[in-house]
């Protein structure tokens, strides 16, 4: 099944949207499911993602792919759910923090003025680019080192949403702490790489206080 063309989606053609949904709903659902403990919330996120996509498709930014567009919206919906659920344990968290290093919400916003959107997109685009670049570097370094169990650990955490205690045994590691050590060294490396590109730490507020350190 081929991805529908943007023009078809922008024309709100029903078949194109049904096609798009068939292509992506499961991946979006599993993604949401990894972050939200309940099934219904994950389904709601996927539903809201497609409704958000219909609303936002008119101003689709051709620098992104449809996949990025959909995951960007889903990301925001998940953040909304997490915020709503979280009691006020982090009163210092500002919107800026929560937008994360990406400000991914700008991908699909409709209520801002054009100049605001433009400005935020510039910053978000830069953050995004740099973060992708340093993550790619990290993955490349792991490949070069040949220690692919590290990649399995990171992928388990980020893609499958698994926790330390569920990982170590399956990967033949000594204990939970070994998993924590791999995470810790990966985040340290990301910080090193980020520092080279973001000396005043303005670009990634989330990185410097990441819970990865726990």
């Amino acid at each position: 099944m081929n991805e529908p063309r943007i023009e078809q989606l922008q024309a709100l053609e029903e078949d194109a949207w049904a096609n798009l949904q068939q292509l992506y709903w499961k991946r979006l659902f599993h993604y949401a499911r990894n972050w939200l403990s309940d099934h219904q919330a994950a389904e709601d996120v996927v539903q809201e993602t497609f409704l958000g996509a219909v609303r936002g498709i008119g101003s689709f930014d051709p620098r992104y792919t449809i996949e990025q567009f959909l995951f960007g919206i889903a990301h925001n919906r998940i953040v909304d759910y997490l915020r709503r659920r979280r009691p006020a344990t982090r009163p210092h968290a500002t919107d800026e923090d929560l937008g994360g290093p990406l400000g991914m919400d700008v991908l699909a916003r409709d209520e801002q003025t054009a100049s605001q959107v433009y400005r935020r997109r510039e910053t978000a685009g830069r953050q995004r680019e740099v973060l992708i670049e340093i993550l790619r570097t990290l993955v490349g370094e792991i490949w070069e080192s040949g220690e692919l169990v590290k990649l399995k650990v990171l992928e388990s955490i980020f893609v499958l949403g698994r926790r330390n205690k569920d990982i170590w045994e399956a990967f033949g590691l000594q204990d939970e702490k070994a998993v924590a050590g791999i995470k810790f060294r990966a985040i340290q490396r990301l910080k090193d790489l980020a520092r080279q590109r973001d000396a005043d730490r303005a670009l990634f507020p989330g990185l410097w206080k990441s819970k990865w350190d726990d």
């Binding site: 049904a18 949904q21 991946r27 972050w35 290093p101 990406l102 499958l160 819970k211 990865w212």
Partner: protein, 102 residues
């Protein structure tokens, strides 16, 4: 689980999927299919394709001749979710088209 993760992790997770950060190069997938990689790499590709179930890599591996088990049939629960999603999008599309006409 979610309460312990912060948004930075979520952002990395989103990018990891979107950008397919750990998807191996096509040549590696081919070598995996041919069983010609060193053990650690074979193990990683098996993990990525079968355990993580990366859809694009899985598709590629199958196209390159990997005898992977077919992706599991949609369960009836999944079909129900898909139906509900389709219905809601369709309704919303109709309303959006009406609004445009006005």
């Amino acid at each position: 689980m979610s309460d312990y993760l912060d948004e930075f992790d979520l952002t990395v997770s989103t990018l990891w999927r979107e950008e397919r950060l750990s998807c191996p190069h096509r040549d590696l997938v081919q070598s995996f299919v041919d069983g010609e990689l060193p053990p650690a790499q074979m193990d990683y590709l098996r993990f990525h394709i079968e355990e993580v179930g990366c859809a694009p890599c899985r598709e590629l591996a199958t196209a390159l001749g990997a005898p992977l088990a077919a992706a599991p049939e949609s369960s009836s629960a999944e079909r129900e979710i898909e139906e509900r999603l389709l219905r809601s999008t369709r309704t919303f599309l109709g309303a959006s088209r009406d609004e445009r006409r006005r």
